[in-house]
Symmetry: C2
Subunit: 457 residues, 2 copies
C-alpha cells in the first residue's frame, strides 16, 4: 500500500499517547475510533502500557507485536521526533500528527525535524497540529472531533481545525453525508494537493470541498485542482479575501492570503467552484453528490406559487442558468395538469391548487422530455395541500423514472415544509428552504459542466 492508502485504509492503527483520562485528546481519539466502528486492529500506546477502554496497551510502538499501518500521534510536541523515529523503525507507513506546538507557535525548527524524519523513513505525515482524519469507507474516525459522522460522498479538507470539528457537527445536523474529513494543520509533509489527488481517484468521493486560507505551493495546488475538476467537482472556500480577513488569517494559520483577485482567477481557470461561505459550499456539494449533472442548458422551474417562481427565475438569470419559454407541445402537456389560471411557460405555475398528482405528473413530464436539462421544483406552503405527501410523490416519480438529469427542490414554509425537505433529502433529492439556494447549487453544477466542456470532456 502507498503511504496515503495506509493513511485512509489502514489495517491497523496505533494511537500513541492514548489515555484513560476522558479530558485528554489521547482518550478522545481511541474513543472515537472505537465508536466509529473501525474494523482493523487498534493498539493504544502509552508509557505506562496501561489498558485503555478495554484494549491492551503497549509502552511503545515498537512493542506492538503486529504490523502498524497508521500511527496517530498525540504526545507533547517535544516527544514527537523520537516517536516518529520509532514509527519509522517499526515500518509504519503513515502518521497523523495531532500534537500542536510547532510552526503555529514559531517552533519552525521542531517542525523541520519531524518532516525530515518522516521523509527519511518514507512515512506520509498529515499535520502536525491537526484534529485528525475521518474516512467513511474505513469506518475510521481518527479525530478528536465529534464521534458521530453522517457517511456520504463529500470529502471535506480543512485548513482550520476548529472549523473542521464544527463542520463535522454541521454535516451531522443537516444529514449531509461525508466520505472524509481531513484536517490539514501545518502541512509539514502532506499538502492539499496530495489530498486532492487522492480524492480524485477515490471512488467513494463524488465531490471535494476545501476550506483554505492560503496555499504553500499555489502552482501545485492549482494543477491538482485542474486535474481533479475534470473528474469531480472541487468546491473551494478561500477566506482571507479582504485586508481585514487576510490580517486575521495571517495571525491564525500564518498564511499569506495573497491577492484575492489572483486566487479568484486561478480557481476559475482550474475549474474549482468558489463558494462564498460554508453553507453555500455544502449546499452545492449536497446536490453534486446526490444528483447527476444537468443533461443540457435548459432549466425548467415548476412551482405552485408565482412569487417563489419569480424569485427562482431571477436567481437563475443572475447566475447564468437558461430559463426559456417551453416549446408549445410541452406547454400543452403542462396545461392539462393545472387550472386555467395557471401558467405553462416557464416557470410552470401549477397554482396553489396543485396536489400530489399535479406535482408527480409535472415532474414526470419534465424528467421525460429530452429538451429539459435540469428541473427545479418549488413548493410554497398553502393552507390546503400537504407538503410531506407532495414531497413523497415527487421522490416516487423520480425513483420510477430513474432520474438522469439534475432535480432539486425548495419547499418554502414552516415545520411541515421542513419535514417534507428532510424526507426528500433522505430519498436522494436535495432540498433547500429558499429557492435561491436551490438555484445557486444548480448554477454551480452548470459551471462545472462548462469547465469540463471547455476541456473537451
Amino acid at each position: 500500500m502507498s503511504g496515503l492508502a495506509s493513511m485512509f485504509s489502514p489495517r491497523s492503527i496505533a494511537v500513541i499517547g492514548a489515555s484513560r483520562n476522558p479530558r485528554k485528546i489521547g482518550y478522545e481519539l481511541v474513543s472515537n475510533i472505537l465508536a466509529g466502528g473501525y474494523e482493523g486492529k487498534l493498539y493504544p500506546v502509552n508509557p505506562e502500557g496501561a489498558e485503555v477502554m478495554g484494549l491492551k496497551s503497549y509502552v511503545s510502538v515498537k512493542a506492538i507485536p503486529g504490523e502498524v499501518d497508521l500511527a496517530v500521534i498525540a504526545v507533547p510536541a517535544v516527544h514527537v521526533p523520537e516517536v516518529l523515529e520509532e514509527c519509522g523503525q517499526k515500518g509504519v507507513r503513515a502518521a497523523l500528527v495531532i500534537s500542536s506546538g510547532f510552526r503555529e507557535v514559531g517552533n519552525l525548527e521542531l517542525e523541520k525535524r519531524i518532516a525530515e524524519i518522516a521523509k527519511k523513513y518514507g512515512i506520509r505525515m498529515l499535520g502536525p497540529n491537526i484534529f485528525g482524519l475521518y474516512y467513511a469507507p474505513s469506518k475510521m474516525n481518527a479525530t478528536f472531533g465529534l464521534s458521530r459522522v453522517f457517511p456520504g460522498k463529500i470529502a471535506f479538507i480543512t485548513q482550520s481545525g476548529a472549523l473542521g470539528i464544527a463542520m463535522m457537527g454541521w454535516t451531522n445536523l443537516y444529514r449531509i453525508g461525508v466520505s472524509a474529513v481531513v484536517s490539514m494543520g501545518n502541512k509539514a509533509d502532506v499538502e492539499e494537493a496530495d489530498m486532492l489527488d487522492y480524492f480524485s481517484e477515490d471512488q467513494h468521493t463524488k465531490a471535494v470541498l476545501m476550506y483554505i486560507e492560503g496555499a504553500k505551493d499555489g502552482r501545485r495546488l492549482l494543477d491538482s485542482m485542474s486535474r481533479t475538476s475534470l473528474r469531480k467537482p472541487v468546491i473551494v472556500i478561500k477566506s482571507g479575501k479582504t485586508d481585514a480577513g487576510a490580517s486575521a488569517a495571517s495571525s491564525h494559520t500564518g498564511s499569506l492570503a495573497g491577492s484575492d483577485r489572483v486566487y479568484d482567477a486561478a480557481f476559475k481557470q482550474s475549474g474549482a467552484l468558489r463558494a462564498s461561505d460554508l453553507a453555500q459550499a455544502f449546499d452545492w456539494a449536497k446536490l453534486m453528490t446526490m444528483q447527476p449533472p444537468p443533461a443540457n442548458d435548459d432549466c425548467l422551474i415548476i412551482t405552485n406559487g408565482g412569487g417563489v417562481g419569480v424569485m427562482a427565475a431571477d436567481a437563475c438569470e443572475e447566475s447564468g442558468i437558461r430559463i426559456r419559454p417551453l416549446p408549445e407541445d410541452l406547454q400543452a402537456g403542462f396545461k392539462k395538469l393545472m387550472p386555467v389560471f395557471g401558467n405553462s411557460k416557464n416557470p410552470v405555475d401549477l397554482t396553489g391548487q396543485a396536489y400530489e398528482e399535479s406535482y408527480a405528473k409535472s415532474v414526470d413530464l419534465a424528467l421525460r422530455d429530452q429538451r429539459v436539462g435540469s428541473v427545479i421544483v418549488l413548493y410554497c406552503q398553502t393552507a390546503i395541500t400537504d407538503p410531506v405527501s407532495i414531497a413523497k410523490s415527487i421522490a416516487e416519480t423520480c425513483e420510477s423514472q430513474g432520474c438522469e438529469k439534475t432535480l432539486v427542490t425548495s419547499f418554502v414554509g414552516g415545520a411541515q415544509c421542513n419535514e417534507a425537505m428532510q424526507k426528500l433529502d433522505e430519498l436522494g433529492i436535495p432540498s433547500y428552504p429558499i429557492p435561491e439556494r436551490a438555484v445557486s447549487a444548480v448554477a454551480a453544477f452548470y459551471r462545472w459542466q462548462r469547465y469540463k466542456a471547455k476541456k473537451g470532456i
Copy 2:
C-alpha cells in the same frame, strides 16, 4: 377610528361568507380568528344564517345587531359589490376582500366597481384577492393561512399571497416574531404606501419587511419609504429583477417590474434596505427588532476559532463594516482572558480553550467599552466546550449590562450549537448558523444608521 385603525384594531368583525364546511375559506377564516384569541365581537354571516363553530350567524351584515368595524369578505367575486354596498349602509369602516376573480383574471370592470363602492362609503379596503390580515396586538388572525403565528415586532407586507402564507409558517418555525402579516392582493384601494405609513406610526412594529414585484404608484411608495425609514428600518425584497423574473412576475401579478437599476437606486435614496432573498430579509429584521442599532462605526469580533474569525472579518470588510485593531489598553484587557497563543487584535481569538468565563468576561469588556459600536460573537464547536452553557453566559452578561449596542452571535456546528442558538434567540440575542449571516444583518443595520445620519437624524 380611522379606516386603517378599524382594519388593524377592530372592536368587531363580520366574516361574510362564513362556512361550516372545513374545506371552505369561509371556515378557515372564522377558525383562525377564534384560534388566534381575538377578543372583540365576531359575527359570521351566511345566507342560511346557520350557526358556525358555535357562533350565532346572520343572513346579512345588515342583520347584525351591533356595530361592525371590519368586514372580512369571502363570497364569490360576483357577489362582492352587493356585500360591500350592505357594508357601506351598515357603517362598516374597513374591509378585507379575500375573494379572487378580479383584475388578476382580467375582470377589471368588477374591480373598478368595488373600488367605487368602497370609496363612496369611505370604507378602507384591502384586496381583493388576498389571504387576509394578521395583527398581533389585536390577536387577530383574519387569514386563511396558518393558525399559529409567533408574535413579535416585524410587520410583513407581501404582494404574493402564497408567499405570505408560507412566510407565516417560516417565521413560526424559526420563531421570528411578527407584529403583522399583510396580504396586498390587487390593491384596488389600500396600497403598500398606506401600510407603510400605518406601520411607521405603529408602536408595536420595530421593522417593516416588504415583498414587492412592482409598484402601482412608485413615487408615493418611495415617499412613504423615505419617511418610514427615518423612524424604523424598511427591508425590501423586490423580485422580477431580471428578464426571466420580470416576465414571470408579469404573468403572476400583472406587475410591470420596471428597470431593476431604477428600483435599486430609488430604494437606496429612500433608505429602504434591499435584501437579496427572504431568508436574508428575515435575518436582518430579526436583528433589528431584537437589538439596538450600533453605537458607533467600530465593530469588534470575538471568536474561539481562527477560521470563523477570518470569515467574519472578510464579510465585514466586504459589506462596509469597520474592523480595526483594538487600542492597546483594550487588547491588554482581552489578553487576560485568553491563553498566550490567543489573539487580542480584532478579531479577538480566545482560542478553542475558551469556556463560559472567557466568553462572559470578553462580552462584558466589549459591551462596556465606548469605543466599540457593535459586537459579533462567534463560537465554533469544539470537543471540550459546551455551546449551550456558553450561550447562556453570553445572554446573562448582556442582560446584566443592559446592552446598549448591537450584539449578534453565530454558533457554527451541529445539534448542540443549534440548541445554543435557540436559547440565544429566546433570550433576545439574535443568532445565526454561519458568521456571514450575522455580519450581513449588522451591515444592514449600519446602512440604516448611515441613511438616518445623512438625513440629520
